[in-house]
Amino acid sequence: MQTPAPCEYSRATSVDDAIAQLQALGGNARILAGGYSLIPMMKLRLANPGHVIDINPIEPELNYIRQEGNEIRIGALTRHVNMLESDLLDRTFPHIFRDAEAVLADPVVRNRGTMGGSLCQSDPAEDLSGVVVALKGRAVLRGPGGAERVVEMDEFHIGPYMTAVGPTEMLIEVRFDVHPGFGGAHEKVERRAGDFAIVAASAGLSIQGGVIREAGVACSAVGPTTMHIKRAEQALVGKAPSEQLFQQAGQIASADCSPNSDGRGPADYKRAVAGVLTQRALSRAAATALRS
């Protein structure tokens, strides 16, 4: 039987209480959200926190998807299933969230796993992180005394399982700018349904007047963190969408990612597939954008 090492458990009564507890425990504590990444690591004794602070009691404060002005805001404890089912998200960012959430893990994991947990786990194979990077989301971190700072995704994931979130900070919200003429897609190849990606590509395009105004491209599982393929975005913006253009963007993704060989496949395979999936995601994104 797998059992975690001895550890203390407490429940947070508010975001500020959770942060106060983090502060009091001095680096030895971990936030427990959906628990689908943290608990397995604890049972395998890969993670041995002395203390876990359960933030599920403050779900009412942190589970939301709402529009404020030109921004969509998603609370850190919003479950995968909420993002999968949200019409607001799918209307605003067709169909990138729904695409990704439909292939992320399985219904059991989606019922509990959260936005915050996905980003803070900083697993380079996370599907949702790819979407957030492609949409250029911004993470809102709160620290002691209610101090908040907003961190761009490029600064958020600093390495595998490492983020910009400080030891006494918590991620509370992710914000996205809304763009007109948006279309997005998430493409994933996996060994089996519910498995982490061998490679995944997320793409978002905003097309107006037949020209790509905004582009976001990210690839999962092909580098130390979710890979933001900026050169592909540069190649896309200002051009008219075409299959040839997307193929070129795919080639850039292949070139700019840095996969490792592992049980899911050798690096040359992942590199090639990053290109294929990027191209496919972009062409679906464009088709959606042109319809919206």
């Binding site: 395998l44 004794r45 498995d195």
Partner: protein, 811 residues
């Protein structure tokens, strides 16, 4: 006696998705054979099953195992003092302690020895080194890191191709006289000279190196035991979900020298076995030793990683093979195989042949010559070699022959089904003796193949494939035709440590006419509580709902060797039919008394004896039962009561077969294989409960999909097991099943030597499907890119490599 009576309530012979209609009809239990919901499912689907981990005894201790982090390492010392100082630790057992009980090494049923705990050396990654017993499961885990083992790392070898090289490290230095890593002498079957002649005369020869990679049966419930030695009485109660409780009891008596009459094995519900729960594992021996040492019940339950990494792997056969044809027909096969046993040959197989049934490798074909030889080797990998949902090594044999037929068809440039049709054993040739010495009982292979082609619309599929190809899409059509040999088995070929493979049955019909039938077979989810009740029902005319099937307690059931190799229906089913007929015969005596006539003047119809020529005058089984227990009017030689015992000694194996066709689409950009269709025509003789048969087929096909597309236990250069969790060892889900559902068909060729004409079926789909799917993937690659071979598992990266002409064997 073979029976050809038709099964009541049989549905039309094929369908796609299960429909409401089909399942709507099964509410009432047939009195005998036919569709019927499984009696046991009511408790399973409500979460009321009673599994290993549910066993909680007063004062029970828990355990965990310290495992070697190295694949090959000398153990200089083991210091347990820190662990023993842990306040909740009751005992720590290491090899030295087992030595005093004579249990440091145990014999395997393949006539090798296996370390229970590593004492001198660790020989595979995650091998058992120390057994920690504590008052709770958490503490046992906590104490693992307090056991200090001083290892001296040795070079490890995990590649079976290189393990016989002169510079390979010697793994089994414990064996006197062992100088290399050969596990057993070269073994062969078939007439080599004749086979060579057949090859010399052939027009076309196909040659392939085929790997059936190491995989794992992976039952949902892992292995475990609660051992409870009562120091006061010397009674040892063993709670352990295993597939052969009586055989295990005998093994414990022989190995541990415990008095057999004092050992009681209790199997509760078992969450899947698939061969993984046939062997006796080090954890079991340690739990028993632990209970003796601690004087309290000891529970050992392995976790998923331990299950995948240490108990009961399957396959791991590397096969250099050639198949030839003459005048358009397959004529010969030769195979040179390496069996990789890991560090100990604990292959769980009950035959007198070192490679089990592997020489059934000639498959369903009427060959002029065949020869196979098998070399068994040691490597620094976990031992096991269990028959994962198959008779011993039949999956490997079927995988080989069905891949080779396709390879030969490719070289001959003929359609793979056409080549099979030309080369099958014909219906009029049964009983048929194969070139390697098996005697197949019955079959009509052409009929089954034709039915599969019809269901599939095979010609239409080939047309569609060409159309797709023109558009740059990759579609593959795979075929396999398997013959299995199941129901081990006849004494001349099979035993377990000298025990004949018979199974007993005991039937008691109570005064009310309700019955209890006790079996030695051990269900792990196969539906025994229903199927065996239906056999009694068919023979005696008592409703299956009024028949209790008892199994899983060695104190309450007759002796027999258990459930694996699809042997329950062929062997225990035979016993149950025979015992039912004995009871029926006894009932006839009572009926004669009741009806005041002679027994010879009575005739039987289901549920009643009646006077020949006067059918109105009769006695039902219910009234006979009451009479049997209440009459005071017993003639000489007839005892009261209505019960009987039987032991069934199978005269031959039964040989189920089937024709499978699958359709896949391969993504040219990513190598991802999508299962679109799977057509399975199975012939398992008479079907007792067609719904259970179909369930078995569905499950086995899914496991075949897993093996063909994703499952493998592989090792890195240092010998570390790379697939010791469900993150790395993938099991198929509903989403990997064919999008068009399983399309099943059936033909019925009764077994001529089985009392009810039934053959085994539990394993057929898992045996027949892996080559079918591999053939489909390779067909897609061949049609589009001219690729002639790849090994399984066909997961995306490997298919993509194959597509680009550089696939490497996965191990």
């Amino acid at each position: 006696m073979a029976t050809t009576e038709t099964t009541p309530g049989r549905h039309p012979n094929w369908y796609g998705h299960a429909t409401g209609d089909k399942f709507g009809k099964v509410a009432d239990a047939p009195v005998g054979f036919g569709h019927m919901k499984r009696k046991e499912d009511a408790r399973f689907i409500r979460g009321l099953g009673d599994y290993m981990d549910d066993v909680r005894l007063p004062g029970m201790l828990h355990s965990a195992i310290v495992r070697s982090p190295y694949a090959h390492a000398r153990i200089n010392s083991i210091d347990t003092s820190a662990a023993l100082a842990h306040p909740k630790v009751a005992a720590v057992i290491i090899a030295k302690d087992l030595e005093t009980l004579g249990l440091a090494w145990m014999p395997t049923i393949s006539y090798d020895t296996q370390a229970v705990l590593a004492g001198d050396k660790a020989r595979f990654h995650l091998q058992e080194v120390a057994f920690v017993i504590a008052t709770d499961a958490y503490a046992a885990q906590d104490a693992l890191q307090l056991v200090d083992v001083d290892y001296e790392v040795l070079p490890a070898i995990v590649n079976c191709r290189k393990t016989l090289d002169p510079d390979a490290p010697l793994i089994r230095d414990d064996k006197v006289g062992q100088t290399d890593n050969l596990a057993s002498p070269l073994w062969e079957a078939g007439d080599k000279a004749n086979c060579d002649r057949v090859f010399a005369e052939a027009d076309v020869v196909a040659k392939r190196t085929i790997l059936d990679p190491r995989c794992h049966p992976c039952p949902m419930e892992t292995c475990g035991m609660v051992a409870d030695m009562n120091p006061a009485t010397g009674q040892l109660n063993i709670y352990n979900g295993n597939q052969a409780p009586h055989a295990h009891r005998t093994v414990y008596a022989q190995v541990a020298g415990l008095p057999e009459q004092n050992i009681r094995i209790l199997c509760n519900d078992i969450g899947g076995g698939f061969g993984n729960k046939v062997p006796v594992y080090p954890g079991y021996v340690c739990a028993i030793a632990g209970s003796i040492v601690a004087g309290a019940p000891v529970k050992w339950i392995e976790d998923r990683s331990e299950n995948l990494a240490s108990t009961g792997f399957a396959r791991d056969y590397l096969m250099y093979s050639e198949m030839c044809s003459k005048n358009g027909r397959i004529t010969g096969l030769r195979v040179d195989a390496i069996a990789d046993h890991g560090a100990f040959d604990s292959t769980a197989q009950a035959t007198k042949f070192p490679a089990g049934f592997f020489h059934i490798v000639t498959g369903s074909y009427d060959l002029d010559g065949a020869h196979c030889q098998v070399k068994a080797v040691y490597t620094n990998k976990a031992p096991g070699g269990v028959a994962y949902r198959c008779s011993f090594r039949i999956t490997e044999a079927v995988y080989l022959v069905e891949r080779m037929v396709d390879a030969l068809a490719m070289e001959m440039n003929v359609d793979p089904i056409e080549l099979r049709m030309r080369s099958f054993i014909r219906a009029d040739q049964f009983p048929y003796e194969t070139a390697t010495g098996w005697v197949y009982d019955s079959g009509d292979y052409h009929k089954a193949m034709k039915l599969a082609m019809e269901i599939a619309d095979y010609e239409g599929l080939r047309r569609e494939q060409q159309e797709k190809l023109a558009k740059g899409e990759m579609m593959g059509i795979g075929v396999s035709f398997f013959t299995e040999g199941v129901g081990a088995g006849p004494r001349r070929h099979m035993d377990i440590l000298g025990l004949a493979m018979n199974d007993g049955a005991e039937l008691r019909v109570h005064p009310s006419g309700k019955a209890v039938v006790s079996l030695s077979a051990q269900t792990q989810g196969q539906g025994h509580e229903t199927t065996f009740a239906q056999i009694v029902a068919e023979e005696l005319g008592i409703s299956p709902n009024e028949i209790m099937v008892r199994h899983g307690d060695t104190d309450k059931t007759p002796y027999g060797l258990g459930t694996y190799g699809s042997r329950s229906t062929p062997v225990s089913g035979g016993a149950v039919a025979v015992v039912s007929r004995k009871v029926r015969d006894k009932a006839r005596q009572f009926a004669a008394l009741m009806l005041e006539t002679r027994a010879e003047d009575l005739a039987w119809e289901k549920g009643r004896w009646f006077v020949k020529g006067d059918p109105e005058r009769g006695a039902t089984i219910e009234s006979i039962a009451e009479y049997a227990y209440s009459t005071s009017n017993l003639p000489e030689g007839l005892e009261g009561g209505l019960d009987a015992n039987a032991v069934y000694d199978p005269p031959n194996l039964t040989y189920p077969f089937g024709a499978y066709i699958s359709v896949v689409d391969v993504d040219p950009g990513t190598g991802k294989v999508h299962m679109r269709r799977f057509i399975a025509v199975d012939d398992c003789g008479v079907r007792i409960n067609p719904m259970i048969v179909e369930g078995q087929i569905h499950g086995g096909l899914v496991e075949g999909i897993g093996q063909a597309l994703m499952e493998i236990i592989s090792f890195d250069e240092q010998g570390n097991c790379m697939n010791a969790s469900f993150m790395d060892y993938l099991l198929p889900t509903a989403l990997e099943c064919p999008t068009e559902g399983f399309e099943l068909g059936e033909t019925v060729t009764p077994c001529p030597h089985h009392p009810i004409g039934a053959k085994g079926v539990g394993e057929s789909p898992c045996v027949g499907s892996p080559p079918c799917i591999a053939n489909a993937v390779i067909d897609a690659l061949y049609q589009a890119k001219g690729i002639r071979h790849m090994d399984i598992p066909c997961f995306p990266a490997r298919v993509w490599a194959a597509m680009n002409g550089n696939e490497q064997p996965p191990q």
